[in-house]
Every structure is written in C-alpha cells, then in structure tokens.
Symmetry: C2
Subunit: 294 residues, 2 copies
C-alpha cells in the first residue's frame, strides 16, 4: 500500500523550479547558517524515500528534496516516459515530513542549452547495473553532480537499495572534492520482503506476488552465509534455486562482489555485496544486501 501523508502541523515547504529561484530559496534557508541535508529523488515517493527524508531531518536542521526524472539515466527503450510522476501526492508527502524546500527543475534547468558535459566513474560504472544499462551511471553521476552544485548541501542522503549507485556517488563526491558528507539509509521493504521501489507499481497482481523471489533469494543466501557457506558459486546457486519456484521472474544477474571494487568474489572472505536484478513482467527490479564480516 502506498503511504498516506500523515497530518502534522508544519510550515508548507518552499518550492523552486528555476536555478535562480532555487538559489534565492536556499539563501533564505541558510540565512542563519544552518546545515542543509539533501535527498535527490525521481519522485513517485514511497516509504523508502520518506525514511531517507526522516534520516535527513535528524541529520541537519534544513532538508531539501529534489524531484527530477532524469532523462540522461534512461537508455532508449527504457521506462523514461512511463515512469510514474504523481507530483501532487509527492508534494503532500514531503510537506507532511516537514521538508523545507522542494526543487522541481525542468529538464532545461539541469541541462542548459548546448549542454555537452558528462561525469563518470571509471570501472565501477560498467558492471552489474552498468553492464545491463549502458550509460546509466554516466547519467546518474552527471545529474547528481549538477544537483549538488546547485543545492550545495552539507549532507547527501542515498538509499542502500541502489547500492552500486550509492557507491559510485560516494566515490564521485570524494574524487571531485565536493564538500559534502554522503550517508546511506537502509532498504525499506513491504511486509512480504519486497524492496520498496517506484517500479513496483508496474507489476500486475500475479507479478507482484512473484516479485518476492528477489528478497527470498537474498534471504536464502544470507542464511547460508550465516551457516558458514563462503563459495560465491554455491550462494548464487541457492538464489537461483529459490527463483526456480517463480516462473514470472527472469534473472538478469546474481552477483557476489567486493563491496568497494564491485569485483566478483570466488569466496567471501570479508565484506561482500550480494546483489540481484531480475525482470518481472514489465518491471526490472533490483535488490541487495551487504554482508559484513565479523
């Protein structure tokens, strides 16, 4: 079920569209030198986003949220056009969370006329999601660099659900000497374990029931790791076995990788990232868990 805005007595968030109006709103937010936490989103907000907003609120006195469906991170044939855009509902949800400023740029506010500049993180961007979605992370880095330059936040909040994205953006911020602290919030899940995602709305009833395969597979791998299994091949096989019971779920990848380099592991010796992607009907879903060695 989509979350409903909870009634709270709060000031309505300021709203900005153009870069100029954003900068004016930020100057007034920062008038007393307060720190700003930033949550970039593509809208279609769910509890996962809202949990990031709550973490952001606890981390800084001012919270800015952007809503921007970034065309550059969608490949031709992907779901840019049909990506959900329930703007009025998103605004109400953010107002209920006490967000200070919502930035809703148009494409031309983020990509000026004649735009030719791209940002990318070598190596990390070509594997897993990057391998299935060529150019995706160049789109992500290019837009987030711009959003950060526009908002200039003290803290940037990202979700663990998109673990590779978070890793790449942490790398980008450190490498580009951006004066921002990057933090991750945990993945939020539906009652049956399905990771929350704006793309879950693409699923039919039958597909929605089978989408639980992703988290079920990860749970199977997690149990094996707890029991001492260290072979990446056997962990992947366990996930695949789990998925065999869900005919609507079509594997894209099952990966057990080093969480810093994203290089495939033969055996899990220390920390690891277990990440999966699958097509379920019209949706391409991802999920993961970080395994932390004791």
């Amino acid at each position: 079920m989509p979350p409903r805005p909870r009634p709270r007595a709060r000031k309505r968030p300021a709203r900005a569209r153009s870069l100029d109006s954003l900068r004016r709103a930020l100057a007034s937010l920062r008038a007393r030198g307060e720190r700003v936490a930033f949550v970039p989103t593509m809208g279609a907000l769910h509890e996962g986003h809202l949990s990031l907003v709550r973490l952001a609120r606890r981390s800084a006195p001012r919270v800015v949220v952007s809503i921007f469906v970034n065309p550059l991170q969608f490949a031709p044939g992907e779901d840019f056009r049909r990506y959900p855009r329930p703007l009025a509902r998103d605004r109400a949800l953010l107002a209920a969370e006490g967000v200070d400023l919502i930035w809703e740029p148009r494409v031309e506010d983020v990509y000026p006329k004649g735009d030719r500049t791209r940002v990318y993180v070598e190596g990390l961007s070509d594997v897993l999601e990057g391998s299935s979605r060529p150019g995706h992370y160049t789109g992500v880095c290019t837009v987030v660099a711009r959003l950060l330059n526009a908002v200039q936040p003290d803290l940037l909040w990202l979700g663990q659900k998109d673990a590779q994205q978070a890793l790449i953006l942490e790398r980008m911020c450190a490498d580009l000497l951006l004066p921002v602290e990057v933090r991750r919030g945990p993945t939020l899940r539906e009652e049956d374990g399905l990771a929350m995602s704006s793309r879950n709305s693409y699923l039919s009833h039958a597909e929605r029931q089978q989408a639980v395969a992703l988290s079920q597979g990860l749970a199977a791998a997690w149990i094996l790791l707890r029991e001492g299994e260290r072979s990446a091949q056997r962990l992947a096989a366990a996930i695949r076995r789990e998925w065999d019971g869900y005919p609507l779920v079509r594997e894209d990848y099952i990966a057990i990788v080093d969480p810093a380099s994203l290089e495939p592991l033969q055996r899990v010796r220390g920390h690891a990232l277990v990440a999966v992607a699958a097509h379920v009907g019209p949706a391409r879903l991802i999920d993961n868990f970080p395994w932390r060695a004791r």
Copy 2:
C-alpha cells in the same frame, strides 16, 4: 625576459597544501563575506599569468591562485616530468601581486586514493588540441572541476591563449551548474609577438627566433581578414606561406573554426577563431586570435 617580482608593501600570501588547510584559509579569507576570484595555474608563471592575477584583483577583493602541474592532462611521452617548476620564484611573483592565498596541492590532494572520476565535455574536446593530445581535455576538466569545488570561487579567470580550454571550461561550468562566473584575459606577447608560454623556456636561441612564425602567421591572416578575405582555405594558405620561411617550425594544425562549436569554417561569415599549433624544436606551441564580425 622573465618578469621580476616588483617590490610592493603587501601582506605575504597565505599558503595551503592539503584540502583541510585550504578550507581553513578560505574560511578566514571569506570571514567578511568578500568575493573570491580564482586563477588556476601550473606555475612557471610569466606576465600572461600575472596579467590574469591583476584582472582577478580588480574583479574581487580576494584572489586565490593555485599552482598544480596536473599529471592527468599530460599524455605519456609529453612533458610532464620536465615541465618547469620554479616554485620559490612563483611564490615571490604572486606575493608581489598581492595574492591572498596560494594553493599548492600535492597530487594526492587532488586525486584521492582510489580515484576513478572523470569529467569531460563532448565534441569540443576531440578537435584541435584534443585531436593532437587525446585525453588532454578530460584531464583539464577533471582537475578544474576539483579545483573549483575546493576553492568555490565567485570568479574564475582563464587566458585567451588557451582559447579551446577556456571555451571548454566555460561550457563545463555552465553545464555543471557551478555558481562561478568565468572570465577571459587577453593573450600577452613578447616584443616580437610570440605569445607568452611557460613552454617558451624549452626553446634554444635559434628556435626562439623562429617561434615568432606562429604570431607572424596569425598576423598575416588577420590582415587578410581586415582586407575582406573570407575563404578559410586562403587564410590557412597565407599562414602556411608565412611559416615556409621558418624551417624549424613544423605545423601541427592551422584551423579557422566557429568560436562556439569549434567546427571548421569554409568561409568566415561572422565570428571566427583562428588557431594554430606547431612544433618548434622540443616545444609544442599554440597561438590564436578571435575574429569578431562587425
């Protein structure tokens, strides 16, 4: 002749090396909210750099200069190792100009451990200098994005001598929504017309005398343009004819291009950039002039 520091009664510039020390120094510079102008350099300063510093001083109350020979913009086999690094002299020259802060980062201050992030400007980076020096402008954009994020200046001063670099960095700043105003200072020349460059120091006496070919060739093209010549082919031929008298000068390129897109022109109809590059002994020299239609 290299310029000598002129005696002036000024406060010595602050100096920073690490990012932390830079940020502390900047915070103290900005304590009264004064605007900051920034001149990034690779050191080996000449009057061209100093003229930018003077323009910067007139543009803002605070001036920051960086000295960093950026390894990423040199290809293997280029002159990274032998590039001149007269640091004590550079510091004295900047002190005499009343610079407020000199940032002298080490490589690891600009390229953190594990660095993988690159910035590039599509199209503009592959022609002229970019064609002769593959990867050069990715190196330039990647370092300048970092320097700008570290210094966060209000104004950035660049030299017209490196016209393509200035164009690409103007594009990058606009595209990445960097809150900085980019300005260009004119090319400074020796008495015989040779554009000032740190690489002129590579020239032997005989090579130095023939290096005048670049500005002589440009002057010939300029005179023809003034007389109404509009054929790019004939303008290039005039430059080449001029160069024929200088056997130590080996053409790299002679280009008459659109000053915004850098695309080659058949005929000069409006604005144009006339740009040349040549090898003179161990040095690769460049020069240009912007032609502005009435």
